[in-house]
Amino acid sequence: MTDITASSFVRQDLVAERPAPVKTTGFVGLVRTRLLSSPTNILLTILGALLLWYMVIPAFRFLLVDAVWTGKDRTACLPENAGYVVGACWPYIQAKLPQLIYGFYPEAERWRVNLTFILAAVLLLPLLIPRLPAKGLNAGLFFFALPVVAFFLMHGGGITGFGLSWTAGLLQLFDDSVIGAGQVLVSLGKSSAIGPLLWVVGNFIVLVGTAIQWLIFPLTWLRDQIQASSQSVWIDFAITTIVVSLILFFLGGGMRTGWRALATSIATFIGMAIVIKLMGLDHGGLPIVDTRLWGGLLVTLVVAVTGIVTSMPIGIALALGRRSTIPLIRIFSIAYIEFWRGVPLITVLFFATYMLPLFLPGNFTVDGLVRALIGIALFTGAYQAENIRGGLAAVPRGQGEAASALGLSWWKTTSLIVLPQALRHVIPSLVNSFISLFKDTSLVSIVALFDLLGSLRASFSDPVWSTPSTAFTGFAFAGVLYFLFCFGMSRYSLFVENRLNAHRRN
């Protein structure tokens, strides 16, 4: 066996050391490879630097260097008095800050708004941190309890009845409407070609209505008795608690497994009782602040949060409806989704402001803010439905089939197996919808509600602060606020997305 190193084609001496490769990492490497690697690249770098220079420097000068920081009125921000071209006029923001945040909310009552903000933040923060426990309770409090508490806290007013009175009232309204419809049909029957048929159907509907009237008579009688007593709210509350708890107890499995449901229900009602007592809802509650006085960031947040909370159930229902095999429900869902997605939000707001009042009974007035909220909920619901439908499609068929094989009903399959997985899939697109909803809240300023942008615009017309830089200052301030909210939401969505996809990496 010959020594392999002796063969002529094997190198005998060491290769000379090559110089170290050009550094491509770190700052120097970045400059070398991605800024100055070729003549074109150098040119592009100069172009980029020029762009940045002409954007960043003037902005910086405007916001900080040339800004006026103190003053009582416009005179401080006029170039003649300051002696130089004035940048941002911050005293103007200082003076208008209450208006930009609360609108015309009475000064003495602003603690209520602050308290609501604090409550919301306290409930929201633990909800956003994935590591903290009790998400179910937390979400329940934020999505169900907080809106009610916030309403009574910020709007004020009390209640005169509770579950029983409301149920009785609703049923009575429904029944009146049914009887009314029957009577209309009967009267139409007199002048129509298919008169006898209409007459029969009309009389049948009236009959049904009368039957319902007799059926709900005990309820309405009880309601009247309760309303006549001095402690109407509490009697009603007690009856509602007993009835609802018993129903939940029997639905939850009676003596066998119903205790848990019973305990939850009683705990919930005790919580409600505490809230009612604390806020004095049974005797009038806090003084009422009309929503026409609300404004600024308050309205922006109210509209955004209500939109987010109400659009989810609408979206889920429509998404399920669109996937359903029952023809009428599917057709209705498709028509609804395509209709609202096809029209601009501003026409929806016009619809809610001018058309909705026409559709309601004449004695029934709806507050301007609530109208806008209804419009936004209907509109955003359609968008959320499409997002959620994407998530439903991403859940493998086998999941639903496995659940059916285990004997779960459609409701249980959907709510325990399919929906949780579907919603997980679409968190990023849901958050994107929330961001666009948050941005779209600015549109309510067009239908005469003073949200952050509306209040800002109103403040421009104040002669006390009219200077050349007022508008720019206002826009800078509001822009930073909007940017913080939207950018924060999008970063959070990225964080959640990464967390959810952690198992997919490497």
Partner: protein, 401 residues
């Protein structure tokens, strides 16, 4: 005994049940009936309430009001319009204004969007950061905010017409809007247009012919010299024969305002700028995602076949990227058209502003006017989605073939 295979039972009842109630069967039918009853009840409530309310307010329902005189002026009209015209004409004027601002916005948004996307994709670190900053800032601010910013802050801060900013001496920007030269038709206008139309049709035909020759017979026909001649040469020749098709009337500063030229109202400028910069940020992200979606191997495969970089891009990368880009891009165009309704916030006379705004407050015909306005946008978006499904179908077919 018969050995023929037995036919399956027709199962008419089963099929009927499936058709009527879906998978849930008769339960589904019951659910539908209940749902229909609720819908019917709601419809009845809505109609009877609306009728009662309209009667109380003494408003006659119906579209008769469209023939009444509008009695208000509109500050930008593409078709002749005076205050004594009907509401129907107001509707058309508003619709045209919406369409013109949408088209202008779409053109600029596409251009800016592609430029920003190229910036973001650029190997240059600084330039891609600039693109990223642009996208992040624009996407995280409400459109109405940007619109008001351009209108109330930037355009209002511009100097008055006397000190207006001149763009090369032909166009002038001031706080009264943008003044541009207006074209005036001359004698050569008609032949020029005819020849131009002929050139476009002929070049399209030529291109189809060349395509067919390439795909069916493998003949490569070089057509660009002919295209150049058809599209530019012929019109030039006609111009030499018949004289200039149109001349431009330059705006001149006279006293406190401009004479000559045509003025573009500041509302239009603000709306077009806001719409195009806003939508451009979304388009940039779409284009970037589309280009990144084409696998690197495609480029390498192209160059290993001996194609030049430009040809690889044109024939291999861009067609594949377009498949990803076009559907969301159309969606953005649709969004831009719908967002143009924000014009009402600054008083640009678009459909929502003049029809659902001014006309509604003058006539009180809320139901008819809002229904018509919504129908217009709905038709536009349904038409677009129909076109897009045809496009998707064609793409799928060409991929399957």
């Amino acid at each position: 005994m018969s050995t023929e295979a037995r036919k399956p039972p027709p199962q008419i009842a089963l099929k009927l049940r499936r058709a009527l109630g879906g998978k849930a069967g008769w339960n589904g039918v019951a659910v539908q009936l209940a749902f229909a009853a609720i819908l019917g009840w709601m419809a009845y409530e809505i109609i009877s309430n609306a009728r009662a309310n309209l009667e109380n307010q003494h408003i006659a329902a119906g579209f008769g009001f469209l023939r009444n005189n509008a009695g208000f002026d509109v500050n930008q009209t593409l078709i002749p319009y005076t205050g004594s015209d009907t509401f129907l004409r107001v509707f058309v004027v508003g619709l045209l204004n919406t369409l013109v601002v949408s088209v202008v916005g779409i053109v600029f948004a596409t251009v800016i969007g592609f430029i920003v996307a190229l910036c973001r994709l650029s190997p240059n670190w600084l330039l891609s950061r600039v693109g990223e900053i642009y996208v992040e800032i624009i996407r995280n601010l409400p459109l109405l905010f940007q619109l008001l910013f351009w209108y109330l802050a930037v355009l209002a801060a511009l100097p008055n017409p006397r000190q207006s900013i001149s763009l090369l001496g032909i166009a002038f920007i001031s706080n009264r809007g943008l003044v541009v030269p207006s074209p005036i038709g001359e004698s050569g206008f008609v032949p020029f247009l005819a020849v131009l139309a002929f050139g476009i049709v002929a070049s399209l035909a030529l291109r189809i012919y060349a395509r067919r020759a390439l795909y069916q017979y493998g003949h490569m026909i070089r057509i660009w010299p002919y295209l150049l001649a058809l599209l530019f040469g012929l019109p030039l020749v006609t111009m030499l024969i018949f004289g200039l098709p149109f001349t431009f009337e330059l705006p001149q500063l006279k006293g406190f305002n401009f004479a000559g030229g045509s003025r573009i109202i500041p509302e239009f400028v603000a709306l077009a700028v806001a719409l195009s910069t806003y939508t451009a940020a979304f388009i940039a992200e779409i284009v970037r995602a589309g280009i990144l979606s084409v696998h690197k191997g495609q480029m390498e495969a192209g160059s290993s076949l001996g194609l030049s970089r430009g040809t690889t891009l044109r024939l291999i990368v861009v067609p594949q990227a377009m498949r990803v880009i076009v559907p969301p891009l159309t969606n953005q165009y649709l969004n831009l058209t719908k967002n143009s309704s924000l014009a009402v916030g600054i008083g640009y006379p678009d459909l929502v502003s003049v029809f659902a705004g001014t006309s509604l407050s003058q006539t009180g015909q809320a139901i008819e006017i809002i229904a018509m306005t919504m129908a217009v946008y709905l038709l536009i978006s349904l038409f677009t989605s129909a076109v897009m499904s045809v496009y998707g179908w064609r793409i799928n077919r060409s991929l399957g073939a």
